[in-house]
């Protein structure tokens, strides 16, 4: 049944379904965590690192390849920075009053 279907149709299917998943998952995020949500989604959007790596990984490193390397460096700022800052923020959300003796 799926023979002869252009791959773009599959990708479109994935795209639409992913939007639905995103829609439902995101509405469940508590408003208190919307800032961490933004920094986390920001880190996730740095998944284009994969594309940058492919561009930087060509056998002959011509100027396009170096552009890819530059893209890798730029996006890595996001990847590392995004997850780390999210972690730092989430670490601040505490439930109980810290006891006087407690140390971080």
């Amino acid at each position: 049944m799926t023979a002869g279907v252009d791959p773009i149709v599959f990708y479109l299917t994935i795209f639409v379904l992913a939007i639905f998943v995103g829609y439902h998952v995101i509405w469940n995020v508590t408003p208190a965590l919307h800032t961490p949500l933004m920094s986390l989604t920001n880190a996730i959007s740095s998944i284009i690192l994969v594309g940058a790596m492919l561009a930087a990984g060509s056998e002959t490193l011509d100027w396009g390849g170096w552009l890819g390397v530059l893209a890798v460096a730029l996006v890595s700022i996001n990847t590392f920075g995004g997850f780390l800052v999210t972690q730092r923020m989430l670490g601040m959300f505490k439930k109980k009053e810290p006891k006087p003796g407690d140390k971080e």
Binding site: T35, L37, S45, V50, G68, N78, T79
Partner: protein
């Protein structure tokens, strides 16, 4: 590694990203969610690296780039202050946008390296175009947003937080949009340049008050850019991750627009948020003002106090003092809660992070809808550096902010308002709450006043 194996690993990564976002549904699960995100990213990077190694062995430049970027990213993540989060996020969006453009250029230059046919098929070309287009808009738009948030307007007029609008700008935007759609050749360069320009022009007219919407919107764009690149590289994982981010940003924009009672279109068209209070009524009304000592007396004798923090509080860096005040009051047997308006900060959820940083336990912090019903039973509503979000005019037909959801602080038995002066808020309208009989104004810098309150409560 076979193509099938690769695709399956990518599936694992995509599922991890979904679980990461799912984790954010509550604070206790949120950190686990972040770990899922890290795991997904690690898997995606590792298998891609393995793939490249098996093809070309040329992984050193990649690793080098990652180390450089990673060190910068880690440094920034440790050093950034929580009040600067909006700037950081805007800056990071711009990086994703720029990288998307670079990737697309590299793909046009050497399609085979990206696993594409040479010459690139028409469909892939179109997909690359879309990815680049959105990426370029994201980049230039985010740069402007960053400049505005970081307050660079003093140095460059371009970054002024007031809307920069010139005559016929919207028509120019429209024309640029059309040209970008129509042009065939030399397609790539022209289109990218136009998209950069469009991004600048799109964000320049938007004022500071609308920044929460702008950041969320650019968040969304950066996701769509990733999805666009995913389409052109035939990579379902990029499509999934990009769509998740894209829909997240879109939902946040919607929430922010709703909280500000603004339509998305009117935010994009810009020109709001810079108007100064032109029509302040000059009618003399009396306000009752009191000293911190009077306020402290009211607070210590209350059973329940609801604190309504606004961005003015964060500007004055008074979060820690507020937390101290709340602790003191709690020790005296007063129930203290916080009420947060969705646009209390400079980005969605910003105020929650600022309070969390000051070690306010998150189970004392409530969203507007959850706490509004409690105001009639509250003895004191303490409003710190907030104005428009507690303006009861929003419930009155015909007022400029009619329909905007507000924190119903005016329903509390007593209202304490700390402000620096009687100046009006972003909306540029007067606030009748300040003139009510049960309201007492405590003028002064938020930090100073709250510290005085802490002392007076002893």
């Amino acid at each position: 590694m076979s193509a099938d194996q690769l695709a399956l690993w990518y599936l694992v990564a995509a599922v991890s990203f979904i679980l990461a976002l799912k984790g954010l549904s509550s604070p206790p699960t949120a950190r686990r969610g972040n770990y899922f995100g890290v795991a997904g990213m690690a898997i995606a990077v590792a298998v891609t690296l393995a793939l490249i190694y098996s093809h070309s062995k040329s992984v050193l430049p990649i690793v080098g780039g990652m180390v450089v970027g990673g060190v910068i990213g880690a440094f920034v993540a440790r050093r950034v202050q929580m009040t600067q989060m909006p700037e950081l996020v805007a800056a990071m969006h711009s990086l994703v946008g720029l990288a998307a453009v670079f990737i697309a250029i590299a793909a046009v230059n050497n399609p085979e390296a990206m696993g594409l046919h040479t010459p690139i098929t028409g469909l892939h070309k179109a997909e690359l175009f879309i990815g680049t287009f959105i990426g370029a808009i994201t980049f230039s738009g985010s740069v402007i947003a960053f400049g505005k948030l970081a307050g660079l307007g003093k140095h460059f007029r371009l970054f002024s937080s007031a809307p920069v609008v010139f005559k016929g700008q919207h028509w120019l935007n429209l024309a640029l949009g059309f040209m970008a759609e129509q042009s065939e050749w030399p397609p790539f360069i022209i289109m990218t340049a136009l998209a950069f320009l469009l991004g600048f022009l799109l964000i320049i007219p938007i004022g500071g008050a609308d920044m929460p919407v702008v950041i969320s919107m650019l968040n969304s764009y950066s996701g769509w850019a990733a999805a666009g690149i995913g389409f052109s590289l035939d990579n379902p994982m990029l499509i999934v991750a990009g769509s998740l981010v894209g829909s997240s940003g879109a939902i946040l924009s919607y929430i922010m627009c709703k909280a500000m009672n603004r339509s998305f279109v009117s935010v994009i068209l810009g020109g709001f948020g810079g108007e100064t209070a032109a029509v302040a009524e000059t009618e003399q009304k009396t306000v009752r003002s009191g000293s911190p000592d009077d306020a402290a007396f009211l607070l210590s004798n209350a059973d329940t106090v609801i604190i309504v923090p606004g961005y003015g509080l964060a500007v004055a860096r008074a979060q820690h003092a507020v937390k101290e005040l709340a602790t003191k009051l709690t020790q005296k047997g007063v129930t203290v809660k916080y009420a947060i308006h969705p646009v209390a900060g400079r980005m969605p959820g910003h105020m929650n992070v600022l309070l969390a940083e000051a070690e306010v336990p998150y189970d004392q912090v409530f969203e507007m809808e959850d706490i509004n019903s409690e105001f009639p039973q509250a003895d004191v509503a303490l409003i710190l550096g907030a104005n428009d979000v507690v303006n009861p005019l929003a419930e009155q037909k015909g007022s400029p902010i009619y329909g905007m959801p507000i924190i119903e602080a005016h329903k509390a038995r007593t209202v304490l308002v700390n402000k620096r002066s009687m100046a009006s808020g972003y909306a540029g309208i007067d606030n009748p709450l300040f003139y009510m009989d049960k309201t007492m104004m405590v003028f002064g810098d938020a930090k100073k006043v709250v510290e005085d309150l802490v002392k007076a409560v002893e």
